[in-house]
Amino acid sequence: MYATLIFFAILFLIPVYMVLVTSFKSFSQVSLSTMWNFPTEVTLDAFKEALDKLLPNLLNSFALVVPATVISAMIGSLNGYVLSKWKFRGSNLIFTLMLFGMFIPYQSILIPLVQFLGSVGLYGGIPGLILVHVIYGIPITTLIFRNYYTEVPTEMLEAAAIDGAGFFGQYQHIILPISIPGFVVVIIWQVTQIWNEFLFAVTIVTGADKVPITVALQNLAGSQVVEWNVQMAGAFLTALPTLLVYILLGRYFIRGLLAGSVKG
């Protein structure tokens, strides 16, 4: 049993091994015949070069992820509150119609999206991409918060209502204080998704200095001499923030993962 577990662990870690040994090599050390060997001399050259090339894009990604996540988490929290505690006729249907939006292939809205963003002057930069992620993030954030708030006993809200708290009062005094875990799950989910996203990023943002990190990493692969050590270092840098989130907050990360699949 342990043998099987360890065998799979090794399989899962092979790419990590490859990224690390390659990225700590200098360009002259990267040769195909010694691809699997440890670097004969550990150097940070590749990381320096990758950081040099990708730093602006890393910053772009942060500038994208932070506002997009915060806004979509706030919207999701309010929507989830309404859809779990203030249900009205047709609210379940609206919820289901919303959920459909998180499953569609985004290719099917891409052409109008590009034309729309162009016509309102948001095409080409990070603000447009933020808007896109906020809107297409509504379904999943709403879903997670709605499921979370469904667990909150209605009696608590009723008690608050008797004390005279209205719609926002109940939200502010009852719901919001107990929402921290929900926010953590949603924020982690959105951060990972938006950081890792590629299709919107590659079609909506233009200019080497404006694109987020995923696009820049892909472009790194397409240029001149194939500097595998720099590419691997770039891949490592791209993966690092979400990996850190995963390692530090793994429990919530998994909860977000499962929320995407568990029925609404």
Binding site: Y2, T4, L32, W86, P105, N196, L199, V202
Partner: protein, 372 residues
């Protein structure tokens, strides 16, 4: 519904809070889909004077136009990719979940390792695996470390093909398949009727529609190409399956593990008391209870595999037909070929494929909630 008689204005506030999201989704999801649908009926491109209404031409062309072999290859690739990818993720995921469920030491350590690829971008996965798939070295060189000859498989640039068939014959196969399902369905209906059960009307309705379509030779029309055209299982797909499976099988494991943890120990204990072996406990008690999770996992994985774009893009770019998928083709047709109309048609077909998987799932989710 709450009993506490909230003020009517509170109720209004609740609806008002929701309205911006409703409008956003209505426009950005449904409105844009309609827009894409309309574009797919035109010959829109960057060229001057384009955008005329051309009816279903784009769709007909994709299935039967000589120029669009790439799209048909995409469909075949997607079919094999989806099947293999789901199969790999489910089997690895279930195996790992069952092993981890044994209350072993270091569980969280192993779980962390199996799940970490989920935190990565498909682009990172693609870039890293492209290096691992280097045709001469990379994975192919691993056997040489233990003195074996190097691997010969060329991974994502392999041009080998199995199960070769002619596209023109595909329509006949599809019809035959539909009729076989019909026979199975009728048999099931008879059987279930005796037992007093009912098959979901949804399935029956779909099968009736499909059968009519087959009787009218719809599948044959769909594959009525002027010349023979070979397709098959492109082995290069295996490279995409492994990279995607590496990333997603931990996710499946997490789903199964959550399911396993949800099964009360009493149930297993009861089976053991009844004399079931440990394997018997799994076969008789655990696995049946995991069925809904398998279904959810299949749907989640299935819609991911149908939509796949970034991994293929990062692995091979847009000109490798052996790993091409509709999502990639749509991007290149639209933004390199400037054929917006046809790109939109590919996008709509992609949407329909995903909707076929997702809509029934959402319907049952909604319904099961009403029953609560």
């Amino acid at each position: 519904m709450r009993q506490g008689e909230p003020l009517i204005s509170d109720r209004l506030k609740a609806v008002l809070i929701l309205i911006p999201s409703i409008i956003a989704i209505a426009i950005f999801v449904y409105g844009f889909i309609a827009w894409t649908g309309y574009t797919s009926l035109t010959n829109a491109s960057l060229a001057v004077g384009s955008g005329e209404y051309v009816g279903m031409d784009n769709y007909v062309d994709l299935f039967t136009g000589l120029r669009h072999e790439r799209f048909r290859t995409d469909l075949v690739n997607t079919f094999f990719f989806t099947a293999l990818f789901i199969g790999l993720c489910l089997s690895v995921g279930l195996l790992l979940a069952m092993l981890l469920d044994q209350h072993i030491k270091g569980e969280s350590f192993f779980r962390t390792i199996y799940l970490f690829p989920m935190a990565l971008s498909f682009v990172v996965t693609g870039v890293v695996w492209r290096w691992l798939y280097h045709p001469v070295q990379g994975l192919n060189a691993l056997p040489t470390l233990i003195g074996q000859p190097p691997g010969e498989f060329r991974w994502f640039i392999s041009q080998d093909r199995w199960f070769v068939f002619n596209w023109q014959d595909l329509g006949g196969y599809i019809s035959a398949f539909i009729f076989i399902i019909d026979i199975v369905l009728v048999a099931a209906l008879v059987y279930w009727n005796r037992r007093g059960g009912r098959l979901p009307g949804f399935i029956v309705a779909v099968m009736l529609l499909l059968s009519t379509w087959a009787l009218l030779e719809g599948p044959q029309q769909l594959t009525a190409l002027r010349r023979p055209e070979t397709h098959g299982f492109n082995l290069a797909i295996i490279a995409v399956v492994i990279a995607a499976g590496w990333q997603m099988s931990g996710y499946t494991m997490a789903m199964y593990l959550a399911g396993l943890r949800g099964i009360p120990e009493d149930l297993r204990e009861a089976a053991r008391v009844d004399g079931a072996s440990e394997w018997g406990v799994y076969r008789l008690v655990v696995l049946p209870l995991l069925q809904p999770i398998t279904l959810s996992a299949m749907i989640i994985l299935g819609h991911i595999s149908l939509k796949i774009f970034d991994l293929v893009y990062a692995l091979g770019g847009g000109d490798n037909p052996y790993i091409d998928m509709p999502g990639v083709n749509m991007f290149f047709t639209t933004f390199r070929g400037n054929a917006l109309g046809r790109g939109a048609a590919i996008a709509m077909i992609l949407l329909i494929m995903v909707a076929l998987v997702i809509v029934p799932y959402l319907r049952t989710s909604l319904r099961s909630e009403h029953e609560l």
